[in-house]
Symmetry: C2
C-alpha cells in the first residue's frame, strides 16, 4: 500500500500512529462479541476508559468516529432546553451543525479561530443571551488551531449559570488533563484515534447523572446513539452492547489502555507537555510565529504560521512527496496559512525532531529564510533540559 523501498512517517494529529503492539493485537483472530474472551476484554476496556476519563461515570462506547460520540450528546440533549455553542474553530462549529440538524433551540457564539473560549467572555455571552441556558457545548483542544481551552473554569462558568457543560475532548483526552469528576465536567465526548492510540471507529460519551437525568426527562430522537440503550447494556453483568461492537478496535484498545496504565497517566501528560514545549521552542527557534496564543497547556498539536512569501498550500505536499512525511496543513479558512506539528498519542521526542527537521528542509525548498537545524536544536535543548527525553510507551 505504501512505496516499497521508502520509509514513510505518519506525523498526523488524527488518526495518530499505532503502537505495533496495538496493531498486533488487532491482527489476532477476531473474537465473537458474546464469547467470554471478548466479554472480559470489553469489561476491561470499560473500566480502563473510566481511569483515562478520570471518572466514576460509565463511559458509553459507540461503533462510530469521535463525531458519533459528539452526536450522542446532542441527540440525547437537543430537547432539554436552550443550548449555547461556544466555538473557536472547525470542531467547535460541529456542535452548532449538530444542534441545527437536531432542531435544537441554540445560540452559537464564535470566539474566533485561533482564539480561546475565554471564561470571562463566556460569562458575558451567557448573560447577554438571557442567561437561561440548559447546556453549554465547547471544546477542550481545537485540533484545527492547536488552541486548548480552560475547561476547568469554563465548567464553573456554565454551572454558575445553571447549565451543564458538554466537552468535545476528542483530540485532548489522554494527552492533557481533563479530570472529569474533579472538575465536574458533565459530559466528555471522545474518540479512539488520538491519544488512545487506536484506529478511528470508537466514539465515547461519559454523561454524569445530571446529564443522564436531563436527557431522560425529554424526547430523544436517538436509537443507535441513545444513551439509555447503551448504558443499559454496559451495566449488565457481564456488560453487553446493544449493537455489534467494533470488536477489532476493542482488541487494540485493550492493549493501548494497558500501555497508558503502564506508563502512568501523569507520565503520559508530562510526556505531552515536553513534546508540546519542544514543538513550540522549535517554531520560535526557527524565527517563525505560533498560531494562536502561546500556552503551556496547548500540548495536543502545535500550529505555526507559514512565513510570508511561502506558498503554504505546497508545504504538506512537499513534506509528503519529497520527505515522505504526512503532516497536517490548515483546514477551511486556514488552508495554506498554517502547518500543524502533531504530538498526540504514540509520539516520542525524536518524532518532534524529525518533523521539525523535515519542516526546515521543506521551508528552505520553498524559499523561506530559515536556518536549517535551528528548530531542531531548540527542540533538543527542551528535551535535554527535561532530563529524561519524552519516550513514547514501549
Amino acid at each position: 500500500m505504501q512505496g516499497p523501498f521508502i520509509k514513510h512517517y505518519m506525523m498526523t494529529a488524527g488518526p495518530t500512529p499505532l503502537p505495533p503492539a496495538v496493531s498486533g493485537a488487532m491482527a489476532e483472530p477476531i473474537l465473537y462479541h458474546r464469547a467470554p474472551a471478548f466479554v472480559e476484554l470489553y469489561a476491561n476496556c470499560l473500566e480502563g476508559l473510566k481511569r483515562v476519563f478520570q471518572t466514576e461515570n460509565d463511559v458509553l462506547t459507540f461503533a462510530a468516529s469521535g463525531s458519533g460520540g459528539m452526536e450522542s450528546a446532542v441527540a440525547n440533549l437537543a430537547s432539554a432546553g436552550k443550548a449555547l455553542v461556544a466555538s473557536c474553530g472547525k470542531f467547535g462549529e460541529r456542535w452548532a451543525e449538530l444542534n441545527e440538524a437536531f432542531g435544537a433551540d441554540y445560540v452559537h457564539h464564535d470566539f474566533g479561530w485561533g482564539n480561546r473560549v475565554e471564561p470571562d467572555e463566556l460569562e458575558r455571552v451567557i448573560a447577554e443571551n438571557g442567561g437561561d441556558f440548559k447546556v453549554v457545548y465547547t471544546t477542550l483542544s481545537e485540533t484545527s488551531t492547536g488552541v486548548v481551552n480552560d475547561v476547568e473554569r469554563l465548567t464553573q462558568v456554565a454551572h454558575d449559570a445553571g447549565a451543564i457543560i458538554v466537552i468535545d475532548a476528542v483530540s485532548g483526552l489522554g494527552a492533557i488533563p481533563i479530570p472529569q469528576d474533579e472538575w465536574g465536567v458533565d459530559v466528555i465526548a471522545a474518540g479512539s484515534q488520538k491519544a488512545l492510540m487506536c484506529p478511528p471507529g470508537l466514539g465515547f460519551a461519559s454523561p454524569n447523572q445530571k446529564a443522564l437525568d436531563l436527557a431522560a426527562g425529554v424526547q430523544s430522537r436517538a436509537y443507535y446513539f441513545d444513551w439509555q440503550k447503551t448504558l443499559k447494556g454496559q451495566r449488565k453483568d457481564p456488560p453487553d452492547s446493544p449493537f455489534t461492537p467494533a470488536v477489532s478496535i476493542f482488541m487494540g484498545l485493550d492493549v493501548a489502555l494497558r500501555m497508558i496504565e503502564d506508563e502512568g497517566l501523569e507520565n503520559v501528560f508530562e510526556r505531552h507537555r515536553q513534546l508540546g514545549g519542544a514543538a513550540r521552542a522549535a517554531v520560535k527557534g526557527l524565527g517563525l510565529e505560533l498560531f494562536g496564543p502561546e500556552d503551556e497547556r496547548a500540548n495536543v498539536v502545535t500550529a505555526f504560521k507559514v512565513p510570508e512569501g511561502v506558498d503554504g498550500g505546497k508545504l504538506p505536499k512537499l513534506l509528503r512527496d519529497r520527505y515522505n512525511i504526512t503532516a497536517n496543513g490548515g483546514q477551511n479558512q486556514l488552508k495554506g496559512k498554517i502547518l500543524r506539528i502533531a504530538h498526540t498519542g504514540y509520539f516520542g521526542a525524536f518524532d518532534i525532531i524529525l518533523s521539525v527537521a523535515a519542516i526546515e528542509m521543506a521551508l528552505r525548498d520553498l524559499g523561506a529564510d530559515v536556518e536549517v537545524g535551528a528548530g531542531v536544536a531548540a527542540a533538543q535543548r527542551v528535551f535535554q533540559e527535561a532530563g529524561v527525553p519524552a519516550g513514547a510507551p514501549a
Copy 2:
C-alpha cells in the same frame, strides 16, 4: 487472549472469521485519511462495494455497525410519510424500534419468527392498512432464524403499491444474490462483518435516486447518518468522508473486496449455496428438524431445533467449553430452542464438517439420540456430489 495451547474455532454468523490477508492488511501502519495512499484505497473500496451491491448507486459508508446503516435509512426517511415494517425475527423488529425512536408514522406487521415475509401476504397487509405507504422496511436474511425472504418479489409488491423498499441485507449481502439495480431495490443497508469478511465497524446504505429524492424532500434529524452529507463527500474527486473514516477497516475491506473479485461474485454465491445445502443435509442426516421452511435460498445461516429432552441452553456453552467452538444459539424467544450453523463469509466446506462433527458430539453429551457421524457424512456427500468442494477464498 485465547487459551495458550488450545486451537479455537470461530463459527459464528457475525462477526465472521477474518481471512489472514485481511488481518495482515489491518496490521500495516495506519494511514492518514487524507493521504493519497488512503484516498486511493478508499476510492477502490467505494467502487468495489458497488460491484458487490450490484448497483450504480453510491454505497454510502459510515463508521458504525450494520445497525448504523439501517439507522441512516430511517433517519433520512422517517418524515417521508407512512411506513410499513414487515418483520419475521429479531432484526426485522429493529426496523420497528428505529421508526419508533424517530417518531415516524408507521405500521408494524410481524410475520412471525421462523416464517418468511410472503409477498402475497405483504400485498394483503398493505391493502388492509389503507395502501398509502411511502416506505416498506424488511429483511433479506433474518439472522435470528436463518430465513431468507424473496426480496425480488417483495420489491415488486412495494412498488406496485407506490412505496419504496428498504432492505436490511446486513447478513446476506455478498453471500446470496440481491442484485440491487436488476431487482430495483431502493435502499440496501449492510455492514462489514458478515460476507464482507471484515471486522464490525462499517455500516452501509445504497439509496437509489428515488430514495434520495424522497429523503431530500423532507426534514431529516440526521447529522452523522445524513445521506446528503456523506454522498457529497463521496462524490468529490477524489472522494472524501465528512467524518474520520474507520481507516483500519477500510484497509481490510480493500483486501476482502479483492478476494471476492478474485473468486468471482457468482462463485461466492455458489459456494454459499453448497455450504447451506450441506448444512441442511447434515441436520436432516442427523434426524433433526430445520427451524423455519426448508429453502434453497436460505444459505446465510442454518437454524435447527434442539431435539426434545435436550437442554438447548447448554449447547453453545458445551461447544465452547469442551470443544472450543464458538457457535450461535437462539436469540430472545428462541434462546435454548435452536442452534445456528454459520456459513457466511470466510467459510469453506470443512468448516461445515467440523461444526457438524462438534454439534453431534455435544448433542450426544447432552443425551440426545443422534448417530455420531451421520450429519458429517450427509454434508460430505453434498460436497462430493458438487464435484469441487466449496473452498473459502485463499
